[in-house]
Subunit: 491 residues, 2 copies
């Protein structure tokens, strides 16, 4: 690990944009460390919902990164994520050509710790500035309106308000928290009179009638103001975050927070820690279409539907049913005579739920996890910095994977004590190191790697390399890998 | 094909059992040519429900074969099946050590043609005798009671009655036909007053109150009597069947009916063709537990259930739901907040249906088939006379299969024009013929079969041989096989 040196972080400083009468530029912070359990089985620990292309070709993380990429409004973004997702984040940003400072959380904390880290990072790198904290798993459908709302928020933040982005409700939703707006402080902007918990249906209807706003959980604030409030309300959390940042190390262009210090930060949301306690809270009313994609019913809401209200992704069939959501990825799905359900079929797990009960998906995942079934947290397709692999067959003494290596990708130099491997190249060309040899293996060629041999595979070509790996042995766990060298520093 | 020579068919003749006062022995005919669409996706054309171990370790076909194996009551059985299922039938009988005469239908007709074939076969081989026709896809739970019912039926059949086995109803089932019993002709045996179609719920309750019986669709009759009735009611069908049998050929110990003649037999059930028209119809009332396994609700009925009425096969989870049937084969299945549904998940297709609408599964399979999705009729695991294969991965230019070869099994000598194959042995030992060579390939060894080479694999060992086959090429269809020799005569 290199010592910390990130003084050259921001190429677009806030000061440049600080023209008279113009809102200050916003340092966008994209939070994407969550596990996304509510969209199981598509979303799991190994690839949570913010990185999955739920709508169209891009993930919501990518859509968020694009949303805050207008240089007339935003600076270069800061991405705060779990260390496990570093390669996914880098890959998905790379695909968009977006440059960001990635900060890695070595443990799962709640949003206050991430806000504290981003605030302190911005202050240390830029000095006084306005920060916008954006969730990576939300969907915004009107970009111009969103940006206008952000500009309003930034103007208020510059005046010392801690601004939350509210959404003008379009229905009496029971799945969101609400905000009661107080005194108007600018056009479409108000003091926060109260934050209100998720209501029941009757209360939700009343809130909508009374002009309450949805609480989107996206914030804009002046960094020094937030620092002062965190120091006041959560001094030990601030201390832990500031120390974790001061002792962070650079690791392949990412900033890895010090694990011990970060682990001392309390698990508390920024809503509880600051927003509900500060007298500086304000809300700007966004008029854009927004969703927190908080469960399968929300995905159904956002998906195109037929005249019966059915939304079908993939090879799904519905015979006499209405208002269903069917996602058939891998398996074909057939539904007969049922309404208002969600069926999500992946290669290895199927969820069937009443849409009204989709809030219990998290509880279900807990049940599955408690019984030790890996499908609770692990996908069959696993992403690695060099590409990905998919488990396609498993027996008592063999396992088969389809491995895809990106052009230029290199697996670690490794050996196994309990298994031999047969690699058959089905697309592209592999450069294989086997003990002292280096061998090019072309499409429709194979190579054998006996137990204990030191080996490595890389893709020297211009197209993805695909191989079928057949492992044979008495123990086939992922932990039977002795990594001797790794270009991604996973040794 | 050998010429027809099956004079040595019956080693246990009927005459032996024809002692005074004792019912005549029954020649059991097991009908197992159906496609079993109503239990899709587990049951498909390539392996229909009667051959699947739905309950315990044995298929209903095997359970039926055992049920009619008591030599004091039954002779050696005749199995009438579709030519496609010949190897499955032989394998499943072999596993039980049961010897049978297998008659192969080259086309799908209805039950009248099969009854005519079996009747004529029994007459030509044995002479006068009593025949019992049994469905291979029913479940009987009290063997002693079943056999006693068969003996009663045989006694009546010997007196010239065509006997259908009725079942004393245990509930007002709407999924079965009913029989109104007339004059009592023996203990628990009656003339048939009327056959009644599947009723609605109100009528079903009335029928049960009025003492109607369920019509099980299993029959016992004197062969000459049935011949006379078929000749009277369906003379051209009888003629077609008799000709198909007379022109049948022996094929690997099976009797293959002449396709052209058999194709001329009308598609009509034995109920319509004979039972509803003859004045000889009688019914014996069976008191045993019986099901025709006519759909997923019937499987649920027959399965062990928890205190909420949920029946779960495999890795299924139910959170707040009652009276559900969940079958998780391959995939894990999670159900939340739904009652009275059936979820059947296989490796490649998932059915989710209201139990009350499970009768529409057949319609759904028609929809899927019409759109050209192979899952309507084809399993991922395909049985062959030498063993089976499972498709585990497919790309644009590659396909991967797990192939299992039984001890002594031999694939055909073949070649492909469009694909090369890599075989990796993961269990057992393969004897591989490649052009002029014969090579033993052991566990953890591989062999390459270039495009166009003539090759064959067999299992010379004592344990099943398992190989992973990686196909690489521009066309990977099953029809790119040129079979040069085949021990199972599939050339």
């Amino acid at each position: 690990m290199n010592s910390l040196n990130h003084s050259a972080f921001l190429d677009r400083s806030c000061a440049e944009n600080a023209e008279p009468g113009r809102p200050p530029a916003i340092v966008p912070v994209i939070m994407c460390g969550g596990a996304g359990t509510r969209l199981w089985p598509v979303s799991r620990d190994t690839m949570p919902k913010q990185f999955i292309p739920l709508f169209g070709q891009e993930s919501t993380f990518q859509a968020t990164a694009k949303l805050v990429s207008d240089p007339s409004v935003f600076t270069k973004p800061i991405v705060v994520t779990n260390v496990e997702y570093r390669f996914i984040v880098a890959e998905q940003l790379g695909a968009l050509g977006i440059d960001a400072q990635i900060i890695l959380e070595p443990r799962r904390r709640d949003s206050s710790a991430a806000v504290a880290i981003a605030t302190q990072f911005a202050l240390s790198q830029i000095g006084p500035c306005v920060v916008g904290v954006f969730a990576a798993d939300h969907v915004v459908r009107d970009e111009a309106s969103f940006i206008e709302t952000c500009r309003q928020g930034a103007a208020l933040a510059a005046q010392g308000r801690i601004v939350t982005i509210g959404i003008t409700p379009t229905r009496p939703e029971t799945g969101f928290g609400y905000i009661r707006a107080g005194e108007e402080v600018a056009a479409d902007a108000y003091r926060v009179s109260a934050f209100v918990e998720k209501p029941d249906a009757a209360r939700a209807a009343q809130y909508v009638a009374d002009g309450y706003l949805w609480n989107s959980g996206n914030f804009i604030f002046d960094a020094a103001t937030m620092r002062a409030e965190l120091r006041t309300f959560e001094p030990s959390l601030w201390e832990a975050a500031a120390t974790a940042l001061a002792q962070a190390t650079m690791d392949l262009d990412c900033l890895l927070l010090d694990a011990d210090s970060f682990g001392k930060a309390k698990k508390v949301s920024i809503d509880y820690a600051v927003m509900e306690r500060t007298d500086k809270a304000a809300v700007v009313a966004g008029g854009f279409q927004w969703s927190d994609v908080g469960g399968w019913p929300a995905v159904w809401e956002l998906s195109p539907k037929d005249e019966s209200g059915n939304a079908v992704e993939g090879r799904g069939y519905i015979l006499e049913g209405a208002n269903n959501f069917v996602s058939a990825d891998g398996s074909l799905v057939a539904v007969i005579g049922l309404d208002d359900i969600a069926v999500i079929a992946t290669r290895d797990a199927v969820l069937v739920t009443a849409k009204s009960r989709a809030g219990q998906v998290k509880e279900m995942v807990g049940l599955i996890s408690a019984r030790g079934d890996a499908e609770a947290t692990t996908h069959q397709e696993i992403h690695r910095p060099w590409g990905k692999y998919l488990s396609i067959d498993r027996g008592s003494r063999h396992q088969v994977k389809r491995i895809t290596v990106k052009p230029g990708g290199t697996l670690s130099l490794q050996k196994h004590y309990h298994r031999a491997e047969h690699w058959v190249v089905v697309r592209g060309t592999a450069e294989v190191t086997r003990n002292e040899e280096t061998i090019l293996v072309h499409e429709n060629e194979s190579i054998y790697l006996p137990i204990g041999c030191v080996h490595r595979m890389s893709n020297p070509g211009k197209i993805p390399l695909e191989i079928i790996e057949v492992q044979v042995g008495s123990y086939l766990g992922e932990d039977d890998i002795v990594r001797l060298q790794d270009v991604y520093r996973r040794v």
